[in-house]
Symmetry: C2
Subunit: 105 residues, 2 copies
Amino acid sequence: MVSQKNLYCPVARSANVIGDRWTLLILRDLFQNGRCRFQSLLESLDGIAPNTLSARLKSLEANGIIERDFYEMHPPRAEYLLTEKGRALGPIIRALYKWGDQYGT
Amino acid sequence: MVSQKNLYCPVARSANVIGDRWTLLILRDLFQNGRCRFQSLLESLDGIAPNTLSARLKSLEANGIIERDFYEMHPPRAEYLLTEKGRALGPIIRALYKWGDQYGT
């Protein structure tokens, strides 16, 4: 967690919410697929622990970046999708793609 | 650390190198100031532990994103600056700024 002082800076505010490698991969999957179930994220993000994925999704939801759409109620089953605020992260993910494609090792 | 499978994706390769909130703030400072000393980064990144800052800088240097310029040799004192590969991260930092300015809470 970044201190209050740092949060006056817009870069710090963004970094505080999405500055985590698993979070960036969750966002990538949501941009690619539109909607994702927990299980499909777990399989796509090879190596992530279920409780880590759960914590990252909760944090993204608490920050208004993703929302859950329940497609079944008994038992409750949800898909995750980006909110408008989440879709506004598109330029960041595209910039990460471009740099990774050109320079990533 | 992200698994090998994930590293076929350019977003994952970028996330693996810079997907960390302190790393993003170090990059922000280098883009803003051009060159930074360890002590000035330590003060700017309010709350970072010296060994964490040191580890992040070593990782950025190992990944060819920053380099050290020694302005004094006895004792050795260096400033950190972005390489060409590091300067190519500009669009990512600008996209983080823009989103944080509009949506960051």
